[in-house]
Point group: C2
Chain length 265, copies 2
């Protein structure tokens, strides 16, 4: 689906919620057997319970790669379970040049048909562009929410901090129709500055909830007329309860976030 389709869904559902499927055998509800098959059972229940309130699902590829080929299969099957009106994100943080970049793009955007993929910008233009030729969306790491973001992203460069330079430069390689940026939610005070650089792009904001970001702050500083925000919650939703009522608990949590989002839209 395109960014225009996403905007329609946001208007219809009054939500800019992205549910992160960081599904880990060790954290599954206690009654489920600790097998990779249970991840699919779990994901199916979570998707069915939350899709009324979510416009996007983010699959964190690391959680699936840890189980090798079997995990890769479960990732593919999970993607098929996501309703077609939801925007899908491969949170893969890939990035490599030319031919290699094209293969990552092919893997996620063509063979698996994700709507988008997260990409690291360190290697520059020819590591981002291969992802732009599939008519999908590339989501480039701008400012991340972890403590390590201080190490390099905040370095002073001739045109501002590195993350500002990255966002303003990368934005010239695409358009708001085929490009978004990851902006860590714990940096809500930075959102205004970033909005000045990319007034029309969608921002994928992880870290609301368990990583300490405030939905109100993020919304106040990040919303634009087309919404322009996807706010992700992973653990806060999918692990809300550890018992047989986990799907209902996830649904309640998603509904709560959607209700709050509706009030900001």
């Amino acid at each position: 689906m395109t960014v225009s389709d996403l905007i329609q869904q946001i208007e219809a559902k009054k939500s800019y919620l992205c549910v992160g499927l960081d599904s880990d055998i060790e954290k599954l509800p206690a009654h489920l057997p600790k097998t990779t098959a249970s991840i699919l059972t779990f994901n199916k229940a979570i998707i069915e319970a939350t899709h009324e309130f979510a416009v996007a699902y983010k699959i964190n590829t690391a959680f699936y790669e840890q189980y090798g080929a079997e995990g890769w299969n479960i990732m593919e099957k999970t993607l098929e379970l996501i309703p077609k009106e939801c925007f899908t994100i491969a949170d893969a943080k890939r990035g490599d040049i030319g031919n290699t970049g094209k293969m990552y793009a092919k893997a996620f955007l063509q063979n698996m048909d994700f709507d988008s993929i997260t990409v690291s910008p360190y290697m520059g233009r020819d590591s981002v562009e291969p992802f732009l030729s599939y008519g999908k969306v590339v989501i480039v790491l701008g400012l991340t929410s972890n403590s390590g973001s201080q190490d390099f992203q905040h370095l002073t460069t001739p045109n501002g901090k590195l993350y500002e330079e990255v966002i303003s430069t990368v934005a010239t390689w695409g358009s708001p129709e085929n490009m978004m940026f990851v902006v860590g939610a714990t940096q809500a005070e930075k959102l205004q500055e970033i909005r000045a650089i990319v007034p029309n792009h969608f921002l994928l904001v992880p870290g609301v909830g368990s990583q300490g970001g405030s939905l109100e702050e993020v919304s106040k500083n990040g919303l634009i007329s087309s919404c322009g925000l996807l706010v992700n919650s992973s653990r806060g939703i999918i692990y809300k309860s550890n018992d047989e009522g986990f799907a209902d608990a996830a649904r309640e949590e998603a509904k709560l976030l959607q209700t709050e989002m509706a009030s900001y839209l």
Copy 2:
């Protein structure tokens, strides 16, 4: 295997050659059927033909991920075919924080038992450290050889270019025993500067041959008493010939590079 084991192998084989298994169905020798199974047949022949002259093999994960779960299986089987005395590199360019980084590390360094993995530094310390806790080696992108390296890696920061700042900072998070850096070979003139920053670390140098780097230049500027170099060649070796003699041709090319390397050691 450890960096000390690698140094022993370099001394024994008089080689610091790394063979890159960028194996692509479309480029396999013409007589092989265009199937994923042929990739394994091809890799087996290449490994058998070249391991006398190579101390390391680099598996470019994108080439395998493009075939989904099946590709992942072939990657695992290829890894098993590499002789134990050779250092193995997952060229995965991963990088994510905390729990997620740990899962990537587990996937490649524990479940698949690679000796090392390439990692992107953009997200900072807590995206690199999860890879350091498996007693293996993390290979961090320093200066890459692609044209896009100009976009951000060469930006001026308070302590030199970004790539210099990245290399000098990242080096403090580990030691030459558990950390290496990727340094693009087409930037041979930069190797001296980088050697001044990390006089004792191994550098993984891709891009000799098809990407235009000169082995002589790289060796002159990069070698240290423990060698400190792994020079990678992918296409130049594995696709040297497209007919039934492809393995012999790969062997001859590897031997040629090894002979030249022996003269620099």
